[in-house]
């Protein structure tokens, strides 16, 4: 029989792998299995009714829609920010680079109350838009703002190393062949970044879909309008409606999984198409 692992003289394989699998099973797999098992206990019809009631559907739409918009905005600005950090030398570049990770390090609740204060009609930014009749905090717009904050580092930190590895000679080659800078950027640089950009998008999106802490303070949480799916899970739980909470969680996991699968396939396709063929 061919062994399922390559022989090695290093000790501890059984111990460490065993512990890894045990811990993984106890902490992650068993609880997730409980979720799946509980959802099957609901019964198909009941599950269907719970998952597709109007409020759930709208909450899912708000969560996934806002996450999509925020991830798209993050891709645009994230690529610009990464480019500036990788390519340009200017005073304060180091600081700017360090700041990128703040959304990752700052607890979500802190970000949440701060964003709410900032974008409230009397906040520093809110008061600029209030006279124009634009309300940001306590509307779906606020959700998008919070998700942009949360997702930013994912895009920048995925694209940045790939940009740093770019072969500048390719850009010079394009220039010697007569391509303008814009042509070089769109036809040479951007295509090589596509796989990294898709990965960054997927990570930012995945994080934004499930985000809770930074959103609920700024969202306003109006049912059917600015209520995100994770919040609806919490509400169902507080109502002791476990079946309701479970079904929403299941739907979220399934949609996230499918979307990540699609993005993974896109990524594989683009990697074949654009980089190492």
């Amino acid at each position: 029989m061919k062994s399922w692992r390559q022989p090695s003289i290093l000790p501890g394989f059984g111990l460490t792998l065993g512990y890894t699998i045990l811990y993984l099973t106890l902490i992650i797999l068993v609880p997730l299995a409980a979720l799946v098992w509980r959802s099957t206990g609901i019964g198909w019809d009941a599950f269907w009714a719970l998952a597709f009631d109007q409020r759930t559907l709208l909450a899912l739409r708000v969560s996934f829609g806002a996450a999509l918009i925020a991830a798209a905005i993050n891709v645009i600005f994230g690529v610009v920010v990464a480019w500036v950090l990788v390519r340009y030398q200017f005073p304060g570049r180091r600081l700017l680079d360090a700041i990128i990770d703040l959304p990752f390090a700052l607890p979500t609740a802190v970000a949440g109350i701060s964003l709410a204060a900032l974008y409230a009609p009397k906040g520093w930014i809110g008061q600029i838009f209030a006279p124009l009749g634009i309300r940001i905090a306590f509307t779906p717009l606020g959700i998008v703002i919070a998700l942009i904050f949360v997702g930013l580092p994912f895009v920048v930190r995925t694209v940045q190393p790939v940009m740093a590895e770019l072969d500048r000679e390719m850009e010079e080659a394009a220039a010697t062949l007569g391509a303008s800078r814009l042509q070089t950027l769109t036809r040479i640089v951007l295509p090589t970044l596509v796989p990294a950009i898709l990965t960054g998008f997927a990570l930012a999106f995945a994080r934004a879909v499930g985000e809770y802490g930074s959103v609920i303070f700024i969202a306003g949480n109006v049912p059917y309008v600015s209520e995100i799916a994770p919040l609806l899970i919490v509400i169902r739980l507080e109502e002791f409606n476990y079946a309701g909470a479970t079904s929403i969680a299941c739907i979220m996991l399934i949609i996230s999984f499918v979307m990540l699968l699609i993005i993974n396939m896109l990524q594989m396709w683009s990697r074949r198409r654009y980089s190492n063929v």
Binding site: W4, T20, R38, A98, A105, L203, T246, M252
Partner: protein, 286 residues
């Protein structure tokens, strides 16, 4: 000659004006999206004066919240540290089938909503669950108590240290360990004197990120906490309660502590990256 200089531009870069525009755009975007929220925390905390700021901490519930946050992190981080080292050893130093799948499973918590991370424990240990009545009869409370909060925190911060160590240890290969073993070192000695020193900065980096997330976790902990004031409230939960009670000054005052934690984490992280960049895994991802 000056004419030459003015007409010339680097063919592999943008014109000066475009560079300036892009830099300004990046600075403005980061300023609005990242810096302003941070400044707001401190501004709001001190808006009512230092008296109100200090008063926020002169309260038993606040002290309890701080203590609970530290307790949760003090349990969750070491547990994930041990797991991270074990997982990295098995995955990075050995070749076996199903490795990619195992890594995917370890990454799983990254793509699961924190609320769902909390929910799964409620479904497993809550009053309505099959285990619930049994646990209750034994006098064990998991949900709405410390164990549940620790479990939820472990779930959410599960991949951090493993994710940092695996690529780093993979990069370093097994040569050093094999050399140590051939010189007569035992397995533990090899690990302590060879492997660990090689990855110490990467390990510290992972612990730092794991700790920041553990202390700041909100969604998962919120679901399992039950929000008992002074008992099952961590700092982020305490902030929420204060905020919902319109006690903004106090909420932001507590928030400054967590913001400072974030800033210290960032500063240490930057220092580690600058000084030990090579010894922290390449191609790192959050």
């Amino acid at each position: 000659m000056s004419k030459v200089a003015s007409r010339y531009r680097d063919p592999a870069s943008e014109t000066l004006s475009w560079r300036l525009i892009l830099i300004l755009l990046a600075v403005a975007f980061l300023g609005i999206v990242v810096v302003l929220p941070l400044v707001t925390v401190f501004y709001e905390a001190f808006r009512k004066g230092t008296g109100a700021f200090i008063a926020a901490f002169d309260e038993p519930d606040a002290i309890a919240a701080i203590r609970l946050t530290l307790t949760v992190a003090a349990i969750a981080v070491p547990l994930n540290l041990v797991f991270g080292v074990a997982a990295a050893w098995a995955i990075a130093k050995f070749e076996f089938r199903g490795k990619t799948f195992l890594v995917t499973l370890i990454d799983l918590p990254f793509s699961i909503s924190p609320v769902i991370s909390g929910l799964v424990y409620v479904l497993l240990f809550g009053a309505q669950s099959y285990l619930g009545p049994i646990l209750k009869s034994q006098g064990i409370q998991i949900i709405f108590a410390l164990p549940g909060m620790v479990l939820a925190t472990i779930f959410v911060t599960f991949p951090f240290i493993a994710r940092e160590l695996i690529p780093l240890m993979q990069e370093q290969g097994t040569g050093d360990e094999e050399a140590a073993l051939s010189l007569g070192a035992s397995g533990w000695q090899t690990f302590w004197y060879v492997t660990l020193p090689n990855v110490k900065w990467g390990l510290l980096y992972g612990v730092l990120l794991c700790n920041a997330r553990a202390m700041g976790e909100f969604g998962a902990v919120s679901v399992v906490s039950g929000h008992v004031r002074g008992l099952t409230e961590t700092m982020p939960l305490h902030i929420e309660i204060l905020y919902n009670e319109y006690n903004f000054a106090a909420a932001f005052a507590i928030a400054t502590l967590l913001a400072l934690l974030a800033l210290v984490t960032l500063a240490l992280k930057t220092v580690l990256e600058l000084r030990y960049g090579d010894e922290i895994a390449a191609g790192r991802k959050h």
